[in-house]
């Protein structure tokens, strides 16, 4: 039967001769043809890719922004400014800060420049602006919380500013006077002014930590704190707190603030019956606490910052 026949493999055909040729074996015209072929292929790929990308962009734009909306939106003025904040700022502040022209439409707004205007206040930590067609501008801001006050020259007059945990100095809009009165004054800081604002206060993180710890765990002590001085912070690693009774408490930044507060509380209670309040309690000496009753020269309660601030 033919099925059982052995068929030898067919002989090698000319088609098995390899045809690829290295470019250097090609003539000048051959190389030119090869290059143009490659360029054509690349061009075709780019054109196809470009057309596909264009179609995708058009489809996406049509889906996300209906075509007729821009014309309609251009004619409608902004009627509502919607502010969402985690702090105390209000719509009046927002309107004042953005200072939008009258009858401006959403389409004419440059959100990036508006955002920069908000961020320039210092009180705003983060801002997101959203156009809500046809007539609403939504603004969502995250605010800094003040931890201390500082006296500084602000727009030509000396006034109290607030300092946030990250050292940013700002005006402190919308805070009640009672709330501000609970904040201690900062002393011994050098404020450097650039353009329309001050440079952040250095090492403010440590101070903020001490104040937060005191406010949480020893509020009765914190309420007596009037001035927090950073004068010895860099040189001695110490934060000096001057209290209403006139006692100066020295905290060491290398020790645990909670332990130091506990020692202060203990000393404070132990010395409550003393005829005169101590002039100085030094908690920065490690396990030892130095309490000084020696009368000191009259302490000037006016914050040093008033005297030392470079304007």
């Amino acid at each position: 039967m033919s099925k059982d026949l052995h068929i030898a493999p067919t002989a090698r055909s000319w088609r098995e001769i390899p045809q690829p040729v290295k470019p250097r074996a090609m003539s000048r015209e051959g190389k030119w043809r090869r290059m143009t072929s490659v360029l054509r292929a690349m061009g075709a790929t780019l054109v196809v890719g470009g057309v596909a990308w264009g179609l995708w962009e058009v489809t996406r734009t049509l889906q996300e922004t209906p075509r007729k909306m821009p014309e309609a939106a251009r004619a409608v003025a902004i009627k509502q400014l919607e502010l969402r904040t985690d702090g105390v700022l209000d719509n009046a502040w927002l309107a004042r800060t953005l200072a939008l022209p009258k009858a401006v439409s959403l389409m004419e707004l440059d959100l990036q420049s508006l955002r920069l205007r908000l961020m320039a206040s210092g009180q705003v930590n983060a801002a997101t602006l959203t156009k809500n067609f046809p007539d609403t501008l939504k603004v969502q801001v995250g605010e800094r919380s003040p931890v201390a006050r500082v006296m500084a020259n602000w727009r030509g007059e000396s006034r109290a500013l607030v300092v946030a945990r990250d050292g940013v100095v700002f005006e402190g809009v919308g805070y009640g006077a009672a709330m501000l009165a609970t904040l201690p004054w900062l002393d011994g800081v050098k404020l450097t002014r650039t353009a329309d604002h001050y440079q952040p206060v250095e090492n403010m993180g440590l101070v903020a930590e001490l104040l937060a710890r005191a406010r949480l765990d020893a509020e009765h002590l914190y309420q007596t704190w009037q001035v927090v001085s950073l004068a010895r912070l860099e040189s001695d690693g110490a934060i000096e707190v001057r209290t209403k009774p006139g006692t100066t408490v020295v905290f060491g930044v290398n020790g645990d603030f909670l332990q130091q507060l506990a020692k202060l509380d203990y000393q404070w209670e132990a010395l409550a019956t003393a005829p005169n309040p101590p002039r100085k309690i030094d908690l920065s000496l490690g396990r030892e606490v130095s309490v000084s009753f020696q009368p000191l020269p009259n302490f000037n309660l006016v914050p040093h910052s008033l005297l030392k601030t470079k304007l």
Binding site: L5, W14, I17
Partner: protein
């Protein structure tokens, strides 16, 4: 088939000239839209001996053809000639498997594979497998024998093979122009396809393509190529003989051959002289016309005798009823048809391109290039296997994509 036309190039790298034709193939029609030609260098007897020179000439012709066509060639059909090409015949027989003796596709495939399964010496590669008609129980079947009743199925293949290195040289000349060689076609088959009609091929016809360096021949029988071959002798040899015999330069001898050469001696008077240039300028000389004719006639006769001898038993006047058809540049030699008729004992005439070929391409020197295009296109169209309905629907779909 895609809607974009394909631009095909037919390249013949000959000993005296390199010709390129550009065809625009739409899938239904083929139109010649460009032509390029360049004097050949670096080619002897159809083989590339100086790659750089041959490449320069071929690329020049290709560039000229593309410029003439105004299009870039997509791929090329390349004519193949040279003394290294040889052929042999191998046949196979199978017993029909089916109980009802009906030949099926499997029988045909098996007998074809068997007939083609002949190993070649190292360094040789197949150029063509030319199938001769099937025979069922000894009777000739002109078409595919599928579903014909019979006990024994026979088929034979005329296999043309050549030196792999020589074939590769020709291919690389084209690749140097960054073009793909889609089909390698024997020059004689290409020319034969152009200058003979299907009827002549059915009756039996011998086509001689006499070029400058080689003479390619193909003998058709029963409508299919029966035997092919190449004789490494051509018009250049006539020129050489004239050059030696009359002490002339090659250029002068070529000029005399073209003006006064004949395949037979007709000049009786020895005193009849002809001028080399005819302008009586300094250097112009007289030559006896009879001597010129004697030299060219002797060589032509000898050339035809060599072809006849190589054909051997394959050729006989009885099986070559349509006679001899001459083509190629040297076929323009006066009186060559008469000599061919005497040598082969059958009628002979000069091959002519079909009437639809434009006037500037009707010269016998273009028959091979023209035939290349048409033979190449038809062989591409026949690429799909002759046996249909193999493997069912899935294979059909695969073939569809493979051919697209």
């Amino acid at each position: 088939m895609s809607s974009r036309p394909t631009f095909l190039g037919a390249v013949e790298i000959g000993t005296s000239k390199i010709s390129v034709l550009v065809g625009e193939y739409t899938g239904r029609e083929l139109a010649i839209i460009g032509c390029g030609e360049c004097s050949s260098r670096g080619v002897i007897k159809g083989g590339v001996v100086d790659y750089k020179a041959a490449s320069e000439c071929t690329h020049s012709a290709l560039e000229q053809a593309e410029r003439d066509a105004g299009e870039r060639i997509d791929h090329v059909f390349l004519a193949q000639t040279g003394g290294h090409l040889e052929g042999f015949y191998n046949e196979a027989t199978v017993t029909v498997k089916a109980l009802d003796n009906m030949i099926d596709a499997g029988d045909i495939r098996t007998v074809c594979d068997l007939a083609k399964s002949k190993e070649l010496p190292t360094g040789r590669a197949v150029v063509h497998h030319i199938r001769r008609p099937f025979r069922v129980d000894g009777s000739l079947v002109s078409s595919m024998p599928e579903n014909i009743g019979g006990q024994r199925l026979e088929v034979g293949y005329w296999t043309v093979h050549g030196q792999e290195q020589r074939l590769a040289d020709n291919i690389h000349v084209i690749r140097g122009f960054n073009l793909e060689v889609r089909e390698l076609v024997l020059a004689s088959l290409a020319a034969g396809h152009m200058v003979t009609t299907p009827e002549e091929r059915r009756h039996g016809v011998l086509v001689l393509d006499i070029g400058a360096g080689t003479t390619d021949y193909v003998l058709y029988r029963d409508g299919a190529p029966h035997t092919t071959g190449v004789v490494p002798v051509g018009g250049t040899h006539l020129t050489n003989d004239l050059s030696i015999g009359l002490r002339l330069t090659d250029g002068q001898a070529e000029k005399l051959k073209l003006r006064f050469g004949r395949a037979s001696v007709t000049t009786k008077d020895k005193a009849t002289k002809v001028m080399l240039d005819g302008n009586f300028a300094i250097g112009d000389r007289q030559f006896p016309q009879q001597a010129i004719e004697q030299i060219t006639a002797a060589r032509t006769w000898e050339l035809l005798e060599v072809v006849k001898k190589k054909l051997g038993n394959a050729f006989s006047p009885e099986t070559c009823a349509a006679g001899v058809v001459l083509t190629g540049g040297t076929a323009k030699l006066a009186g060559i048809a008469d000599v061919a008729a005497k040598v082969f004992g059958v009628s002979a005439h000069l091959g002519e391109a079909p009437t639809w070929v434009s006037e500037n391409l009707r010269d016998p020197a273009y028959h091979t290039s023209l035939g290349l295009l048409y033979y190449g296109v038809s062989s591409q169209a026949d690429k799909s296997p002759p046996i249909r309905r193999v493997g069912g629907f899935i294979d059909g779909v695969k073939r569809l994509f493979a051919n697209s």
